[in-house]
Each structure stands twice: as C-alpha cells, then as structure tokens.
C-alpha cells in the first residue's frame, strides 16, 4: 500500500519546492557569497539574539546563563558581524600548522646534518639556552591566556579566532622547546636553563610580569587586546624579530631565525584578526566611544607593563657587542608599529602617557 517514494537520493533527481536550496540561508555572508569558513562557523554557537528560541537553558548559580554578553565590559550592537580575516577553520588551520611543523623539521634536520650548530659561537649558544629558552615560557603563558579567553565570546567567530591564536602560541612554545632539545643532541645546551632565566633573571622579570598580568585578566576581550595590540607589538615581536632573527645571522646561525620566523607570520594573521574585531567594536555607532575609553583604560594597565618589560629586556641586547643590534632603534620600530595599531583601531594613548 505504500506509494512509491523517492528512490534516488541524488541532487536533481526530482524537482520540487526547495529542491534547489543548496546554501546555508540563515546568515548574511560578509561578501557576495558565503565562504567555507563562514559556512562552518557562523551560528554554530547560537545566541538568544539569533535563532535561539528558548534562550540558554542552563546557568551558573548567580543566574548568569551559559553564554552572556556580560563576560566583557565591551558592548557591541551585533557581535555576529565579525569574521576573522584569516578565515580559519579546521582544514586550513591544520594545513598551515602542519606545514610550519614540517618546514621547521626539515630546516633543523638539514642544518644539523650539515653540522650547523657546531658553528654557533659559544656566546650565542648561551644566549639560545637562556634567552630563547626563556621566551618559550612567555609564549606558553600567552597561549594559556588565550585558551581561557576562547570560552566567553557570544559568537563562534570571536571564540574561534582566539582558539586558533592560542594554538599558534602553543605551537611556537613547543617548537622552541623541541628545537633546543634537538640541537642539544649536537652541542652542549642545558634544556632547563631557560626556565631558570624566565623565573629569576632580572632581564626577564618585566616580561614575566606583563605575561602574568594578561593571564590574570578575566575579561576575554581585554586578554585579546593586551596580547595582540600591546604585548606582541612591544615585547613579543620586538624580541623575536628585533633580537633573535637579527642577531642569529651575525653569529652564523641561520637555523634559529628560521624556527622563530613562522611566529612573525602567525602574528600578522592574528593581528589582522584582532584589528578587525576591535575596529568593529570601536566603530559601533552606539557603543564605539565607550569601548574606546575602556581600551584606553586597559592601556593604562598593560602599556607600562609592556614598555617596562621591553626596557628591562634591553639587557639581553647588551650581551651582544654588535653595532647593528641597537635596542633603541628596534624598540623605536616596535613603538611605531604599536602606534599604527592604535590608530587602526582608533584608540588614543591615555592622557599623560608617553611612549
């Protein structure tokens, strides 16, 4: 008695109302057509403002629902507009991370096979074990801060952009760890020296303090802001590009710069994501001005910590008697970069602050 129902499951085998509706149709694409990133990301985390009929159905003891816009002091008319410029979803993320890991492995393997670490200056080897060794802890701390931050946003786009940023930081921390371990099989490197330097060396205490301040921040937008607007520009990139990458070459070390260089393109991508998010927040017709004022307030906390960290770290540049390696000029570049980020997100330095 059953009427003959559909036999083929293939697209186009029947035509009827809705048979050609082959795109996710519940959100507006940023461009002309939704990207794969948008398709797999937008609205996966629902929101009472969009599609979530019943609202959140669990809460904390104080009544705060599973997700709440109050997790940050920043306000936004529509959090759902944000799209990460790097458009990462699982496939592109794993492709990029895997590519970086494979490249580093190849560079390091080749260099070791050619005996490159043996030719590093003794003095430089101690810089690597202590100071590159200390940097890995800073990178790890930033990774932790971002892991915690990716819990709280009210959209998938915001949370995933912090998640991938965190993944990049962990990768870098581990890359440095394993790199020092690997070349430690060829030359004498104390793999634990970096931790001691990180915890005790005066030059690094400012950095540790700045990183711990970020790890202790509970507002997830503050964390994202402090990491990419302030810390990375004034401290992270300063040390990686302004010291390790430059000094390496002068010591016959082309390996270390190659290991660290991926971090610079990581940062460019994460910075683009950050600037895009913060510009959206600061350009908000209703809340933009208040948001800018809040970010200025965050600068009051994180800017002195980060400039202080950079200045204290200057001692490491002093180890080198290399005229090309002038801390003053690389720090000036870092400050320029920081200023340009601030202007991109339309935030002014707090009154009475100078760089």
């Amino acid at each position: 008695m059953a009427q003959s129902a559909q036999k083929s499951g293939a697209a186009g085998s029947s035509t009827f109302s809705g048979s050609d509706s082959r795109r996710y149709n519940y959100f507006e694409a940023a461009g002309r057509r939704a990207t794969v990133y948008e398709d797999v990301t937008v609205d996966v985390q629902p929101d009472p403002r969009r599609h979530l009929l019943q609202g959140w159905i669990m809460s904390f003891a104080d009544g705060t629902p599973s997700y709440s816009e109050d997790a940050t002091v920043i306000k936004c008319s529509d959090w759902h507009v944000y799209r990460a410029p790097d458009q990462e979803w699982e496939r592109t993320h794993f492709q990029r991370q895997s590519h970086i890991e494979n490249t580093i492995k190849m560079v390091v393997d080749n260099a070791r096979a050619a005996g490159a670490p043996d030719r590093f200056d003794k003095n430089w080897v101690s810089v690597l074990e202590n100071h590159l060794g200390a940097l890995k802890h800073a990178e790890f701390g930033i990774g932790i801060a971002l892991t915690k931050a990716q819990r709280d946003g009210v959209t998938q786009m915001v949370n995933n952009t912090m998640l991938t940023n965190s993944s990049y930081k962990y990768r870098l921390a581990q890359d440095i760890t394993l790199y020092l371990g690997d070349i430690g099989l060829d030359i004498d490197i104390d793999g634990d020296a970096g931790k001691k330097t990180w915890l005790e060396d005066e030059a690094w205490q400012g950095v540790r303090k700045a990183v711990e301040a970020i790890m202790a921040a509970t507002d997830y937008i503050e964390v994202y802001f402090a990491v990419n607007v302030v810390y990375e520009a004034l401290v992270g990139e300063l040390f990686r590009s302004g010291f390790i990458m430059r000094a390496g070459a002068a010591h016959n070390d082309y390996v270390t710069p190659a290991v660290v260089s991926a971090a610079e393109s990581d940062y460019q991508r994460n910075l683009a994501n950050t600037v895009s998010l913060l510009s959206m927040l600061n350009g908000d017709a209703e809340h933009g001005d208040a948001n800018k004022a809040i970010m200025q307030g965050w600068l009051k906390t994180h800017l002195p910590l980060c400039t202080g960290a950079a200045e204290q770290l200057q001692a490491v540049w002093g180890i080198e008697d290399n005229d090309d390696l002038d801390f003053g000029s690389v720090f000036a570049d870092a400050k320029d970069k920081f200023r340009s980020i601030l202007s991109a997100i339309d935030v002014n330095l707090p009154e009475g602050t100078s760089l």
Binding site: A2, A10, R22, D39, I57, W89, Q97, A114, G181, D182
Partner: protein
C-alpha cells in the same frame, strides 16, 4: 662541507626523545608570582594534585598527523561523489542526518570551550598540553561536521532542512535535547561539567554509540561519507578519554570529593543515557532501511558498549577508590531500553511531532515491523498500530496524526533531560522553589531538585549550576496556531507555502504538506496546563497520564 650532507644522514637525524620532549613541554608552565590567576569558573571540588599526561604527544607530530587524517577524509568525500554515492543512498537515512548534524557541532565546540574551564582548574602543567590538544580537536570536529552537512546539502536530493540547519538547531522541539547536552559541558561547577559530564561520561561512555554505531549504520544505508568523517573524529577521542581519566585520578584521592563524585556520576550517567540513547537510538533503529536480522540492535550495542565496556570495566573499578557507583541506575537505564521501550517511545514522539520537525520522517513498513518484532519481541503489539496510522495519515488528506482521534497523548517534558516523559508509568512531578515541574523519571527529578542545588548532603555547593530559562520548548508556543508556529520556526520551503518537514519521502509537490494544512490546530504546553489545574484535577491528570494510552486505528 656539503659533501657530508647525504640524504641518509638527514633522514637518520635523531630527535630529542619523546619522553624528554614531553617532560620539557610539561615544564613550560610555572606558578605566577606577580599576579594571581583568578578562578573564573569555580568548583566545589578540592583540586590540588596535579594530573599526569598519559598521552605523551607533541604538536610537532600532532599537526601533521591530523592533516593527514583530514586528507583522507576529504579524499573519501571526493571519491564518494565520483562513485555516485547519492544515487544509492537511502533518503530515509539522510533525512535523519538533518537532525543529527544540526545538533552535534554545538556539543563539539562546547567541548572546546570546556577546555578553557578545565585548564584553569587543573593544577600543574602536565595535562595542559592534553587540554590544548583536546581544544583544537574539538574545533576540528565542529567544523568538519559542519562541512559534511554542507556537502549533504549540496548533493542530496532534498536539501531543505540542511539549508536552515543552525537556525533550526536553535528552535526545534527535538534539538533542545542536544542543547542541554552541549550546555552541560560548560556551565556550572567546573569539575562537574568538564571532567565528569563531558570526559568521564559523555566521551568515555557514550561516544562509541555516537561515533561508531552511527557510521556502521550509515554504511548500511549507502552513506560512505559519514563513516569517513566520524571515525576520524572518534580517533581523537582516546586522547580526551585519557585527559578525563587522568584528571579523575587526581581528584578521586581526596576524600571530600567522593560525595560530589557520586552525585555527578549519577547525574551525568543518567542524563547522557536519557539524551544520547533518545537521539542515537532513534536514528539508528528508525533511520535505517537495513533490516538484516544478524546485525546488532541498538539495545545489543548498548549492552556491549555501555554495560560491559563502560560500566563493568571503567565505572565499577572506581569503587576501589571509595566512589559510590549507582548500579541501580545502570540497571534502570538498561530496563528502560529493553523492557520499557525507551527508544521506540522516543521515535514515536519524534514522529508524532513531525509538524514541528525540520526533516522528513519516513514511516515504518512491513519489513521494518518484522525486524522490530524479531529484535524486540512484543514490539508490534505496542507500536504496530501507531505506525500503521502514521502511514495512513502521511499525505495531506486529513489533519496530521496527532490531531486525529487515534489515542496518542502528547507528552509532558522532563525538566532535567529535556526528553519528554515517555515511559508514562515513571512520570513524576515535584516542586522546586515553589514551582511545579515534570520529570521523565525519579533520577531526573533528583537531578533537578537535589543535584542542581545550592547545597548537597549538608554541604554548600555554591559552584553548582542551575537548570534555568525557558527550558520547556512547548511553553514558547502555548496556545499558538500550528501554522503560525511553523512559520515562526522558519520551517517553510522557498515557495513560502510548502513545509520542510514531511511524514514521508515523496518528492512530488502535490504530496507535500503546506502551511494551510496546519491552520486552526492548536499547540499547547502540557506543563502550563498542568500548573493551571486545581490540585484535584492535577492529581487525576497525573494518574491518567501514568496509566498511559491505547492507540486506536484511524
């Protein structure tokens, strides 16, 4: 110099040993001294011992390995299209994927968010790498599943329902169950949600049914895509189970955690059973066209995976640490599946509710009847007439089945698990803070009233979460006209008239139900009606509800 640089020398390059590498990676963390990390997501557990990382894996091998897994998945999807998979796939099966794949990406990404919470409470740094990898894995799972769904939408004969997927997830009467599941990973006590509910119970206990049983059934229905994706997903799960066990071992040694663990294992086991068995049991038993009597039924799978593998080899050994395991709950869950027909009653509820679904629910026919009767003796007696009616009322020649004189009574919802109270004799009610609530079972009543409360066993539990908000889906549309409900849900096709959901697989426009067929029918919230009753009326209603119903032929 470069003369020494032979290929074999490069290939044989030794790396730092994995043991030493993981030791150093575990040493990346430190205890901050300048600023104190504030516990944003608190717990009532005592968490002091640092858990150990049993997996010993580093990102340098993790990322390339995951990329390789991805390559296999995407290669297999391409191959499935070249092999014309959709010509032979069973539409009955793919339709249910509209529901399953609408639900699952949210719990997945919630598991990623859960790692934010767990990594802040875990002392020591050893397991932080494990949590990180789990976070990135879950990001993988969520987006790879969204992509699979998009692929179905692009290639399956009826894309309607896939096209509104995440909007539907936020609105549907059935997906509310999946939202309860995902929110459970991230809300309330940090240990309860991340370690017990997510890792120790959902991942360790129930992912086999989710990610292994589903793929096998998919393959039997000509769907080779779902197995590729979900077996790849499942291959990450051992890492998460490892994280969970390691963390559990670090808290189980504190005597004051034992009663909280008893509470949470009880809540988590029962709710996972109620939710996962409802959804997956129905999809596997009612979404398939394969009626090979040699294959295991969902009940048989459950006995093997949940009862033997999980309960006997994972939960029971916890007793040696002094954790009280509720054997009676496991037995009761098993009874619900084999004696009380839980899965069949859920399928009956989903199907009778088809006017507010966003996928097609195919009716059961003779071959199905035979298989059910063989696997679940007595099935025909209880459900045969219902499915005969369902088939008879599948074309829009009369109102939808629920609105005919046929005996089925639309059920109350359980305030805890969000699945309705389908085993009518187990239905119960209680008052919490002066308000009346309904439950599917005694354990769900206990979960709401006793477990999710400000104190437990005489101790304050300020970190515990609450069941809150508009938990009961029906309440949102109490007293509405059904046509308006469907319009509001957005479950309407592109012509603005034909609805997405159909109680059949016919693709001809004239066999499809349209908005006009639902006009003048009312949707009501059983709970709101119950609350409005006088005490005597209520008592009578509850007794009648518990007595059940008899299906009549239409």
């Amino acid at each position: 110099m470069s003369g020494n640089l032979t290929l074999s020398k490069i290939v044989k390059q030794k790396s730092i040993s994995i043991t030493e590498a993981t030791r150093r990676i575990a040493d990346l963390g430190w205890a901050p001294t300048y600023f104190e990390e504030i516990l944003k997501y608190p717990t009532d557990y005592k968490v002091e011992k640092a858990p150990k990382d049993p997996m010993k894996q580093v990102l340098r091998s993790y990322f390339p390995m995951q990329e390789e897994k991805d390559n296999r998945v995407y290669g297999a999807l391409d191959a499935a299209l070249r092999g014309d998979m959709f010509r032979n796939v069973e539409p009955r099966w793919i339709e249910w994927q509209k529901l399953f794949l609408a639900i699952i990406p949210f719990p997945e990404i919630s598991a990623a968010r859960s790692m934010a919470i767990q990594s802040q409470i875990a002392p020591g740094e050893d397991l932080r790498t494990g949590f990180t990898m789990q976070m990135i894995d879950e990001f993988r799972h969520s987006t790879i599943q969204m992509n699979l769904k998009k692929w179905y939408m692009e290639n399956y004969v009826d894309p309607a329902g896939f096209d509104i997927t995440e909007a539907a997830f936020g609105k549907c009467y059935a997906t509310t169950i999946g939202r309860q599941f995902g929110e459970g990973f991230i809300t309330g006590d940090a240990v309860t949600s991340t370690n017990v509910y997510l890792q120790v119970v959902a991942e360790t206990g129930f992912t086999n049914t989710l990610f292994v049983a589903m793929p096998s059934e998919a393959a039997r229905n000509g769907d080779y895509a779902l197995p590729t994706v979900f077996l790849s997903v499942q291959s990450d799960e051992s890492r998460h189970i490892g994280n969970g066990h390691s963390f559990l071992m670090s808290i189980v040694k504190e005597p004051e955690n034992l009663d909280l663990l008893e509470r949470d294992l009880r809540y988590a086991f029962w709710q996972n059973h109620a939710i996962v068995d409802a959804a997956i049991g129905t999809i596997i038993e009612y979404g398939t066209k394969d009626r090979d009597k040699n294959k295991e039924s969902y009940a048989e799978l459950w006995h093997r995976w949940i009862y033997d593998d999980y309960y006997r080899t994972y939960l029971l050994p916890l007793e040696k640490y002094g954790v009280k395991i509720h054997h009676d709950d496991v037995e009761a869950a098993w009874d619900r599946i084999v004696k009380k027909n839980y899965v069949h009653k859920v399928a009956q509820f989903f199907s009778v509710g088809w006017p507010v679904a966003f996928w097609r629910i195919d009716g059961m026919v003779d071959e199905d009847f035979e298989w059910f009767e063989a696997k679940y003796p007595g099935w025909y007696n209880e459900f045969g007439q219902y499915w005969e009616n369902y088939e008879k009322a599948s074309l829009p020649n009369q109102p939808p089945l629920l609105y005919l004189d046929q005996g089925y009574i639309y059920p109350h919802r359980c305030w805890s698990c969000n699945v309705p109270a389908l085993i009518r004799e187990d239905f119960c009610v209680d008052e919490v803070e002066g308000e009346l609530y309904t439950y599917c079972s005694e354990t769900c009543r206990w979960t709401h009233k006793v477990a999710f409360a400000a104190e437990y066993n005489g101790r304050a539990t300020p970190a515990m979460g609450r069941f809150s908000g508009r938990r009961q889906w029906e309440e949102c549309y109490h007293g509405w006209d059904l046509a308006d409900v469907i319009k509001d849900l957005g479950f309407v096709r592109s012509d603005g008239k034909t609805v997405i959901q159909q109680p059949h697989l016919h693709m001809e426009d004239d066999k499809m139900w349209k908005l006009e067929h639902f006009k003048g029918l009312e949707l009501r919230s059983p709970l709101m009606d119950l609350r409005a009753m006088s005490p005597e009326e209520r008592e009578k209603h509850i007794a009648e509800y518990r007595a059940g119903f008899t299906i009549k032929p239409i």
